[in-house]
Symmetry: D2
Subunit: 256 residues, 4 copies
């Protein structure tokens, strides 16, 4: 968890979390972790929340074992979504930062449970949560201490059909001006297409965000979920290169 601690303490840090939408196989994760630009902070869903019960629901407990194994061989912090308090037993040994997905931002019973575990929580904004409601959910985590609560804007729901969601960088600007929370941006879910992710990430940094969480995949076209928005590992390297340049200009330090 070193790198996440470093991020949480450094006001100039800009964190890049990356990895696949869903953990799919050992091969998939090894491709990511052995790549030249392997993530220090790896994201990967084990328990997937899908609109249809017939869609891939994640590797679940089996995936947790895989992560445990990979942690012995590689050095990375692991960020993963939790959607039920009963998953804590499985997830806690392998998780450095819990992610609350958009669908669970209002799951106050779950937030209460996480508030006593002591690990940082990435709290995504619900699809149409007002900023006030989002901050209300953050209050359910207050026992963690303000510095371990990280908000994440991931695009809101609007009338616009061309893009998957509407990236609300105004909310980021508002939160950085009016609260002390770290704020990340998820440009992958906000934009919904890989080709828009770089521009959205740069804009997020310029808006004052403290980092981004990016979906990447060794072979995006084969991804079991969110294939359209995943960056290839090459695209991810290019993005990081652009972010480093902009960070220099804005006196930020990239952590990735």
């Amino acid at each position: 968890m070193n790198i996440l601690n470093e991020f949480l303490k450094d006001p100039q840090a800009f964190l890049v979390i990356s990895g696949p939408c869903a953990v799919e196989s050992e091969d998939q994760l090894k491709s990511v972790l052995d790549s030249p630009d392997a993530p220090s902070a790896l994201r990967g869903g084990l328990y997937k929340m899908r609109t249809s019960p017939d869609s891939f629901q994640g590797l679940r407990e089996e995936g947790a074992k895989l992560i445990a194994k990979l942690r012995q061989e590689h050095s990375f912090s692991f960020v993963t979504e939790i959607s039920d308090p009963r998953q804590i037993e499985t997830l806690d040994p392998i998780t450095d930062m819990y992610q609350i997905g958009a669908r669970n931002m209002y799951n106050y019973e779950l937030l209460r449970e996480l508030s006593v575990l002591g690990k940082p929580v990435l709290l995504k904004r619900a699809f149409s949560a007002t900023i006030k409601e989002w901050l209300g959910s953050a209050q359910y985590l207050k026992d963690l201490g303000e510095e371990k609560i990280v908000l994440c804007e991931r695009g809101i729901r609007s009338f616009e059909p061309e893009l998957r969601n509407t990236l609300d960088l105004g909310s980021v600007i508002y939160l950085k001006e009016n609260t002390n929370f770290k704020v990340l941006v998820d440009p992958s879910h906000a934009m919904g297409e890989a080709k828009y992710v770089e521009r959205a990430s740069l804009a997020a940094m310029a808006a004052g965000a403290d980092g981004v969480i990016i979906e990447s995949h060794p072979n995006p076209s084969l991804a079991l979920s969110d294939a359209k928005q995943a960056l290839s590992l090459g695209e991810l390297s290019k993005l990081k290169h652009q972010l480093v340049k902009l960070a220099d200009c804005l006196n930020k330090t990239l952590i990735h």
Copy 2:
């Protein structure tokens, strides 16, 4: 549960569920259950979902004991919200129909648990759920059988600030045309003010809804939550009178 069974089987039935937002005290519930127009189907929240952790969170287990006691003295079906699988143990002995609130429509782990309990579930639409997502959540309940899944439109989130939510009767019309589910409407949350509830209820019936769920309170101004939108018991009686008249005209049978 007789009255709910009757409702689920009769395509012409129009169900009126009513009662307080939150169960607050024995006196409160007795006032409701002893009133001339006492509800056959009583709603009342035990575990409350509130934006702020500092707001009243419900009587919880203590409230469940109160309901158990009142069920021995009065005849009513009980409809209550569940927000965590671990509440099943407390709620199952006293609940005839589980309510999934707007904040939990995407709580698929919870839906999976309810799908094996065999009791009907009232599935509210999330604040900005598309109809497709809503029907996706209903699929997580499919083991109950289609006839025990009751959808509930409760107003969606829009740009309009004058009303608490935007009542989407178009979704009710869509669902009645394209699915076999029962569809209720919650005019109290949709409109947010008691004076608008009657008109919204009549419109719901004319749109083809199969019922309404109404917040009422013996003394609305003292309600611990949602005070502004609760009908007094007198207003509720007047509403039922209007609904009976309209039901006659539309060949519906009011169950209340």
Copy 3:
């Protein structure tokens, strides 16, 4: 204009305006005006507002001549959209009620012009106008006198893709409770499909609306615009029959 005057003066009247989205030909209008259930208040667009300049823009001045001719042979009030002050010269001789479309609700210069013509104005709500903005636009018409300003809810823009727009009957309920304006509903544009129009019209009446404006066409599949939502003349007759029945129940008088 007799029938519109009657409508404007009678608080119990429920007006049904119907006719084609766009005036297309003499044959088209004659089919409508010679049908058994010919409209007393005919709608028909001469100057069409289309998202693309390459779509059919209306018969314009030629269409106005056609209406003038038909008025000599048939008895009907004519309701048509105006989108530019320079159309007044052409439209005023043949128009009984001006319609301001959703795209022009904020066209204050145009509203100012209409406010001195003395004819009633049907003011549609813009795609995402707040109720306050809508009433603001009505104020630009105040010289007409409150009784000649008729508001029209036509569905607002939301995140929901299944239906063309989101019918906001809550706004109708709000306006009838808090203002003295007549309020119509346009279920054709709100729902976007013919099969949903009847239910939406009945719900509008039950919500307290003072009328509906319906798109109909002698042969919907051949309509040059909005084909999917136009009722056939047979469907329109059936709808009117249902509205008469509901009007009886609600003490309304149908004017059609």
Copy 4:
């Protein structure tokens, strides 16, 4: 118009238009034009579009005379809103770029008129216009030639009440990827408060926008409209300084 031509031809240019929401007086404009950081491209409304007819409607023809006078003494390009074709006669002698406000994006008759005047047009997005509708409106201007059509994102309408509008930088990213139009951003209307304008402007540049249009006022607290969102002249200078730094980093040239 030299500076606007320069902007239209240079793909690396980043234009800063600034000035008051409404032209209020000669003193007001002179303060702006004599300031150390006087705008090369001045914005200023003469015909104001206000929700209420009782709000300040602009200096109108009198204001045009004032601009004509100031053009003889100062060097600036003038960008102003047009809301009715009949204003062309007054505006054309003093205007270098016409602005179509959000309320008139669908005013196709007005767009048709501007398409033959030959001057560049700044086409703001309507409050809830889809990108497709926005591009449809741009097509009404196509006779100007693609290079004279400048789109302007000014925040869309969403459910969020904390900020005036929801700045949709995703639309900017989409437009720069998929069209050849220049795209500006109006952070003043999008954010609605002066303190958020700098961050939003920087984010706009990083997202790929070609410029910003900023409301400034010699004394914001005295502004007759939009007082809350206007930058003081000092704040504007600071913003330009930040934009120059970021432009260097992103290989853009600031034109202001």
